[in-house]
Amino acid sequence: MKICVCVKHVPDSAAKITIKGKNQFDESINFILNPYDEHAVEEAVRVKKQVGDSEVIAVSVGKKDAINTLRSALAMGADRAILIKTNIRADSVITSRALKAAIGQDGKPDIIFTGKASIDNEGFQTMYRLAAALNMSVASNVIAFSLDQERVLVECEMEADARGIIDMPLPCVIGTSKGLNKPSYPTLPAIMKAKKKEVKIIDLESLAIEKPMSSIEILELKPAVEERSSKELKGQPEEVVMQLIRVLREEAKVL
């Protein structure tokens, strides 16, 4: 079985974002493998072990540094990797087309795993665009996954803790959520071994993607204003609770 995992190189959530110019940011900060994609890699490796005679290929669209994120995926157990290198900040339309082209060149997979969202742009859509481009079924927010010959059975998170049980044919695209599994942290030998695994680098331009009719353009980036006055409510417990109730009633008007 051929399994692809699409991963993204994203700024560490703890890193400070410094805006440069009108719509850029200082990228000399720590970048990581997108946390939701860790669950995708973990599941791909688990399925490979379960099925046997399978290969896991990690694929990313990004700048040359995204190779570090691919190395993380390799250390977690992926067999080889493909980096689609570009200097643009690709939107989901371009990303899904690039992934389709590169994955198509490599040979059509049976399953594609990817995280349900990237923590930088939070677009929630690349897996759906990729599935549409490849004409595959897709389910996202997946918290349970099992294979049954030519079909997959997944549980998807819905509102208020409800779960949708979905049955789909292979090949398909799966958007992984946090509840699916617990990613294992790579051991030192695994990290060393990952350095020797194959990473194929393809220039985005060389894929000759037709210019799409739709796009997303970031016109401006601004820091989110955080101005909260942080007043302390003081006194005995009964008194502070009375003060808090006054705030809920008069200021928030929820009582």
Binding site: G123, E159, R228
Partner: protein
């Protein structure tokens, strides 16, 4: 006059109140609003939707009757209705259902999609949304032939604008391409969803155990709040992941967010920073959350929360007796 489509969400037979914020976001003097309903309840909610300014209610069903929930057939039905009516802009909620349907529709139409919009200009096709865990606000322009937008629940205030509405039935062929919804399992935590709640009370490391969350649920029951949790509480398996607020959990914008025993990491703020009022209860006066909230109480949550529940219970009880609420 431009036609704007709005995907309406129904939960447990009721119109979700967050729909009204989406209608407010779509409304403009030069727009005609089309509400899409897919569960056969179009006629039932006619007066509600007309009160908020919806002129046309598109009651979508299949030739075989009401559409059962299936994200593929629902998406295709909406696309067919949009094409039939000549609508090329669609708004919906960035909710669980919206995250299932809007990207599918955008992918099929090859249309630009921006989720979690907090501001919108339908004429310029520009929106605002937060990026990088809420650290920045991006102004984004969508280019394309049609446009799909997911609105953050509670980002827009509902605004009544009564008008006359007309219900238009629309039938579509039953279609599903391979994907079958076998069953929907209801969760253990019934009640209000985090993204819908006006008030959220959340617990973190300070809760110390799964059992202790009971005091937050007791508060929530009295006031109709939802209960959330920090990542620490979820990773410790005190509560399920569906309760997690923050970077890798839910993004919420309630009117009031009460953080109990939560230190307030950057990742937690990413999920709740756009709340109306943030209140923190923490024994540590130096906790990060006390520097970036509206009100904080330096005290033991196990003492404060039960008193708060009891006092609110008294107020709610009085209101019910005197009939003021």
């Amino acid at each position: 006059m431009e036609k704007i489509g709005i995907l309406i969400e129904i939960k447990d037979g009721e119109l979700k109140k967050t729909n009204f914020g989406v209608i407010a976001a779509a409304r403009d003097d030069c727009h005609e609003l089309y509400a899409f309903l897919l569960d056969g309840s179009g006629a039932e909610f006619k007066s509600h939707l007309a009160y908020y300014g919806v002129q046309k209610i598109i009651d979508i069903s299949s030739t075989e009757g009401p559409l059962e929930w299936n994200p593929v057939s629902w998406s295709i039905a909406i696309i067919h209705a949009m094409e039939h009516l000549g609508i090329n802009t669609l708004l919906g909620l960035t909710s669980s259902q919206g995250k299932e349907l809007l990207p599918r529709i955008a992918a099929y139409l090859d249309a630009p999609l921006v989720m979690d919009c907090t501001d919108i200009n339908l004429t310029e096709h520009t929106v605002n949304k937060s990026q990088f865990s809420g650290k920045t606000i991006a102004t984004i322009k969508a280019n394309g032939l049609s446009y799909i937008y997911g609105i953050r629940p509670n980002a827009f205030e509902e605004k009544p604008a009564p008008c006359e509405a007309e219900v238009i039935p629309y039938q579509t062929g039953p279609e599903s391409e391979g994907l079958i919804v076998k069953e929907i399992k209801q969760g253990a935590s019934k009640g209000i969803d985090l993204s819908e709640a006006d008030i959220i009370i959340s617990g973190g490391r300070g809760m110390k155990s799964s059992e202790n969350f009971r005091i937050l649920f007791e508060f929530a029951d009295v006031i109709g709040a939802a209960v959330g949790a920090s990542r620490v509480a979820v990773d410790a398996e005190w509560v399920p992941y569906s309760m997690q607020v923050g970077q890798t959990g839910a993004t919420v914008s309630p009117k009031v967010y009460i953080a109990c025993g939560i230190s307030g990491s950057v990742q937690h703020f990413a999920g709740m920073k756009t709340s109306g009022l943030i209140v923190a209860v923490n024994t540590d006066p130096e906790a990060n959350i006390t520097k970036n909230c509206d009100y904080y109480i330096v005290s033991d949550l196990f003492e404060i929360v039960p008193i708060l529940t009891r006092q609110i219970k008294e107020i709610v009880g009085e209101d019910q007796l005197t009939g003021t609420k």
